[in-house]
């Protein structure tokens, strides 16, 4: 059983979804949980079209039903988890009826889904931004993790919890420490012993405190604490919620450096632009896929004139700062990673090439890597700490619906385009659907607008013009905008920057809007 929760993988992870389809054809059941009846949901055995942001209510109600039906995996709970009693107490409040009220999904469907998930021989929950682009993103994730712990669908072949990564190397970025509180290999920077290991290797002191995540940086800019920014391969002007604020803050920086392969909206504001290299075709190194597989990447084409390898730029900067790191070489840097990050230790370039990639952890050169994580939870006796249940409560989206803003707008991605469109909009695609506000046909009638008609879309923060398109996958009161076409429709003029304090992610998925017919002039 595959539970696709808050993911339109059919469009956003088409290669992954290809494997899902193979699974379906082999008899796997697909359940899709998504406010929209997306093209992924159309392949599903069951689609639960919950109201935006009510995921925790749904998950907790599934948990309560699982416990009451005697379907919880008590052996596993006793053996490998902690905090179950508190969790049970919390979910007890989430009756099916309550969940039906809060999510809109019929109680019977929730019950069926809970039973199917608990009884499945193998089940995995896969999610993407529908879970994480909320003000309570981490709580949403924990609610799903709770379900996996409750049913024992974790740490076994074919079962697990699986965040689908948005790019070929999001996982690799995290692995290498591009997270405010982690060093390479997810080693906590605030752990003195681990930090000391890196300090010895680097021959310098490291800041013992964690850094800022993206939203935190914007707050710091607002407070005047952050005045200089070096942006690599990111386009926050187009990707941040509440775009007006982002433009204001970044324009006010004393010094902004942008290193990118395209002249982005962010680059337009920069004091210095460093033309970088395209990771997938112009550089040497490794990437790590969603399944934690580290793979080699090789330069297939030479760098265009005037462009330097990203690695070389950083080495050159170091040199200007007075540190000569020698000649930039991908394999040398990788070997440094291996010497400092135990979970990468066994991955020599030679082995990566021979095996076509290795899934971490891989502790030494005789270790084959691991196909799935957390198998330790099933060992007798248990190895390592218990997996904790987390008490999480339903909180509705911050941007409330009312008479003035009666429509729930959610944002997302389309098959043909990629995030802010920097990498995709320069190329024509026969599959591309033009920028438009997707509405249910019923709402079209209700607001007396027809397909193609330009309407004014307003939220509490901003207002844009957009043509209307009808999508039968939407129900009345639910609208959708893609995030790819900021030149045509600046979606993030509307979105709210209500940030999840734990992850720093904004609530892109839930905006309250109204639409108005444009007055003929």
């Amino acid at each position: 059983m595959i539970l696709l929760w808050g993911s339109n993988a059919r469009e956003t992870h088409p290669i992954f979804f290809h494997h899902v389809l193979k699974g379906i054809r082999n008899g796997a059941k697909l359940y899709v949980i998504d406010p929209r009846r997306t093209s992924s949901a159309q392949w599903a055995d069951v689609w639960l079209g919950l109201d935006v942001g009510s995921d925790i209510s749904l998950a907790n109600a599934m948990a309560r039903e699982t416990i009451h039906a005697g379907l919880a995996n008590e052996r596993f709970i006793q053996h490998a988890t902690s905090g179950f009693e508190a969790y049970r107490g919390c979910v007890e409040k989430y009756t099916l009826e309550r969940a039906e009220r809060e999510t809109g999904v019929p109680a019977e469907m929730i019950r069926q889904t809970a039973h199917a998930y608990a009884k499945a021989k193998r089940a995995q929950i896969c999610w993407t931004l529908g879970i994480t682009e909320h003000h309570n993103a981490v709580d949403n994730v924990l609610a799903l993790v709770n379900l996996a712990l409750l049913t024992g669908h974790v740490g076994r072949y074919g079962s697990g919890v699986n965040p689908l990564r948005g790019q070929n190397n999001v996982q690799g970025g995290g692995d290498m420490g591009a997270i405010p509180d982690r060093l390479p290999g997810f080693q906590h920077v605030e752990n003195a012993e681990l930090r000391a290991k890196f300090e010895r290797a680097y021959g310098t002191k490291l800041d013992p405190k964690r850094g800022l995540h993206l939203s935190g940086m914007f707050e710091a800019m607002e407070h005047g604490e952050l005045t200089t920014l070096y942006v690599l391969g990111e386009n926050p002007i187009d990707s941040e919620a509440d775009r007006h604020r982002a433009v204001k803050l970044m324009s006010g920086l004393e010094f902004l450096v942008v290193q990118d392969i395209f002249y982005t909206k962010t680059a337009e504001l920069a004091h210095v632009i460093l033309p970088g290299s395209a990771g997938w075709c112009e550089t040497e190194g490794t990437v790590t896929s969603s399944e934690r597989r580290v793979q080699r990447v090789r330069a297939a084409v030479p760098l265009p004139g005037g462009v330097r390898d990203d690695m070389e730029i950083i080495y050159e900067l170091a040199k200007r700062f007075g540190h000569d790191w020698g000649k930039p070489e991908a394999e040398t840097i990788w070997n440094e990673v291996r010497s400092l990050s135990p979970m990468h230790a066994g991955m020599s370039y030679k082995r990566l090439e021979e095996l076509g990639g290795i899934q971490w952890p891989c502790y030494d050169e005789s270790h084959p890597g691991e196909m799935y994580l957390h198998s330790r939870l099933w060992r007798e006796p248990l190895i390592g700490p218990r997996a904790p249940f987390s008490v999480v409560e339903f909180e509705p989206p911050v941007d409330e619906l009312n008479e003035e803003y009666p429509i729930r707008l959610t944002t997302g991605r389309q098959l043909d385009s990629y995030n802010t469109g920097e990498q995709s909009r320069r190329f024509p695609s026969p599959l591309r659907r033009a920028a438009a506000l997707d509405l249910s046909p019923e709402d079209g009638k209700r607001y007396k607008v027809c397909e193609g008609e330009q309407v004014r879309v307003s939220s509490r923060r901003g207002s844009v013009l957009a043509p209307v398109r009808f999508d039968p996958g939407l129900r009345p009161g639910l609208a959708f905008l893609a995030v790819h076409f900021h030149d045509e429709i600046a979606t993030n003029d509307l979105t709210i920057d209500a940030v999840d304090p734990k992850s720093g992610t904004s609530e892109f998925k839930a905006t309250a809007i109204r639409i108005e017919k444009c007055v003929e002039s």
Binding site: W43, D51, P106
Partner: protein
């Protein structure tokens, strides 16, 4: 995996035919869980969520039977409903002879011009039809009908044979055998006028099974004696006693008895049936679904025994399959019936409905913890689908191309699960074995050929038909049972085992018709064909027809067979027209070399045996000197 539908749209009539076919299938157990009414917050199975590819063949049949052909629009709509790319569906559609991809009149007369019918005037019949209705394959009667030549229709005991099909809201089919130009023309005219009456009671046992009613018969004892539609008759004549006994014995004992019976498969390959069952049975704890498949794709030219069993004693097949399912732990069975047997299919459908109503099929059969369902699948005019792995592919909705073996069906058969696949006649033997015990059955017949056997005697014989014997009689004995040589009365040759079998000469008539007896003279029993040719027959023409048959029926998957069958026909044409490349001896050597290549390198039996009959004839007679 996206569907990539094309722009063509299906007509309302086509949509209705497809929807009805799917609804019928779904009501038979492929159904989705009922949807809960919602306000747009949930859906279950609203759009085709997964491929229902295995329903492709029934859906194609439904379109063909309704429209007379399958348009791109209809294929598109069917593909959408089945969750299958139309390109894939097209690949399957184009595989089968009975489906038309071009607009075609709704009324089609299929006229057999195969070897058995050739001995009964198929040649002159076709010539007359050409004069009257025009060329084979071109529309006649203001484009409202068409007649076409076809390979063996399995009606050899009543040669020459024809099958009329009339597509429409109520599709109709009629068998005409023996057929004359007048009877075909008038049936076609009737069909064009929308008035074609079907012959429901198509089997005349006195004609098809001349022994009917004789007391010693076991396999044929009900044919012509009991009403094939009546479960009551079947029970009264000992039916379902064997199933009850099997229930008492338990699966292990059933399998032991079937092994002890030394029952060999009657489809042609003669593999020990009990061994097949055991190989599937041992996997019952593997959590994989098991299947029982009845191979009723009787397409070997000259073979019609399974048709008569299906038309004359359908419950015996169901009982045999149910026992097999019980023994191997299968919950689902398929009967794959060749497309040219509409009445056999109807008879079995009726029998399945009756058996379900009486709890002899379905959930908890006779109150036991054993459930078994049987679904019928009709082939669509592809000889190769009689090959068991091609048959699996056909049921699964793929082109009916054979798979490489191993793995064998017992390990990876239908839907790649452990599967028992048995021929109709083999399964009809099963109740006999259970009732009397395996050891008793093994004592019948000869040491290496146990039990009863049906022979399909046709061609120049006094009383063509199906004959049951206990293994032992010689070719001569069987011909005598069938009333002796017909035609001119002077026997020239006998074809054993059909197109994939071999010719024997009158000097070899004292060969026992046993597995070991025929093997000793380099021949084969195959599917039990005994086809006689008198001295008026030009054997060269018979060989050409056999070569043409294989050329037309090769599935084209593997090179030796695809190229070899064509080259073989060309070579024979050259010899018949006395235009050999080099000398006749050189041609003959070339033919042998090609045959060797096909035997060695073809994936399945079709290529491996495609030259057998031809070479056996050339070994025995100097046809081309």
């Amino acid at each position: 995996m996206d569907l990539h539908l094309t722009a063509e749209k299906a007509s309302l009539e086509e949509q209705a035919a497809i929807d009805a076919a799917l609804k019928k299938q779904e009501s038979e157990g492929d159904g989705a869980s009922p949807a809960v009414a919602t306000d747009g917050h949930a859906a279950s199975n609203g759009l085709p969520p997964r491929s229902k590819r295995h329903l492709l063949l029934p859906v194609l049949h439904a379109i063909q039977e309704r429209m007379g052909w399958i348009s791109p629009g209809a294929l598109n709509y069917a593909s959408l409903q089945l969750g299958l790319p139309p390109a894939e569906a097209h690949g399957v559609l184009s595989f089968y002879e009975m489906f038309s991809r071009k607009p075609q009149p709704r009324v089609v007369a299929h006229v057999c011009d195969d070897i058995a019918c050739m001995t009964h005037g198929a040649g002159s019949l076709c010539a007359e039809l050409e004069r009257k209705l025009g060329h084979s394959g071109s529309p006649c009667l203001d484009g409202k009908a068409i007649w076409q030549r076809t390979s063996c229709l399995g009606l050899c005991e009543r040669a020459p044979a024809a099958l009329i099909t009339a597509a429409g809201e109520t599709p109709r089919e009629r068998v005409i055998a023996p057929a004359q130009e007048e009877s075909i023309s008038s049936a076609v005219a009737e069909a064009v006028g929308g008035k074609l009456t079907e012959q429901i009671d198509v089997l005349d046992p006195k004609v098809s099974a001349p022994q009917a009613g004789q007391p010693q018969l076991r396999l044929l004892r009900r044919v012509g004696q009991a009403d094939p539609a009546s479960l009551e008759h079947y029970r009264r004549s000992g039916g379902y006693h064997a199933l009850n006994k099997a229930f008492e014995w338990g699966p292990e004992r059933v399998i032991r008895e079937v092994i002890d019976s030394k029952l060999l498969g009657r489809g042609g390959a003669a593999f020990p049936a009990g061994k097949k069952w055991e190989a599937v049975h041992v996997q019952r704890d593997s959590n994989r679904p098991h299947y029982v498949v009845c191979n009723a794709d009787e397409s070997e030219p000259g073979t019609f025994k399974d048709r008569i069993l299906m038309e004359g004693d359908p419950f015996a097949i169901l009982e045999g399959m149910t026992i097999a399912a019980f023994a191997v732990g299968a919950k689902k069975g398929y009967i794959y019936i060749r497309g040219e047997y509409p009445f056999a299919a109807k008879q079995l459908e009726k029998a399945i409905r009756t058996a379900c109503a009486q709890n002899l099929l379905g959930k908890n059969i006779s109150g036991r913890e054993f459930s078994f369902d049987i679904e019928i699948r009709r082939g669509a005019g592809a000889y190769i689908c009689g090959e068991e792995t091609a048959l699996f592919n056909s049921i699964e909705g793929y082109r009916g191309e054979p798979r490489n073996k191993p793995p064998f069906p017992a390990q990876s058969g239908l839907f790649h699960q452990p599967t028992v696949v048995n021929n109709v006649e083999t399964l009809v033997n099963v109740p006999e074995i259970i009732l009397n015990g395996g050891a008793a059955y093994a004592r019948i017949g000869t040491a290496n050929s146990a039990g009863y056997r049906l022979f399909c005697v046709s061609g120049h014989v006094a009383r063509p038909g199906i004959y049951e014997v206990s293994f032992g009689p010689t070719i001569r004995n069987v011909i005598e049972i069938a009333g002796g040589v017909g035609g001119t009365g002077r026997l020239q040759a006998v074809l054993l085992g059909g197109a994939a079998g071999s010719f024997v000469s009158p000097k070899e008539l004292d060969t026992p018709l046993t597995f070991e007896g025929t093997r000793a003279i380099g021949a084969t029993l195959g599917s039990g064909v005994v086809m006689l040719f008198d001295d008026s027959v030009d054997l060269k023409q018979i060989l050409l027809r056999i070569a043409a048959f294989f050329r037309s029926e090769t599935c084209g998957q593997c090179v030796p067979c695809r190229v070899g069958t064509t080259r073989q026909e060309e070579l024979l044409q050259r010899l018949v027209q006395r235009k050999p490349l080099g000398s006749n001896e050189q041609e003959s050597a070339l033919l042998k070399e090609m045959a060797q290549a096909m035997r060695d390198a073809s994936i399945c039996g079709l290529g491996q045996t495609a030259s057998g009959a031809i070479l056996s004839a050339m070994d025995r007679w100097s046809l081309f000197s």
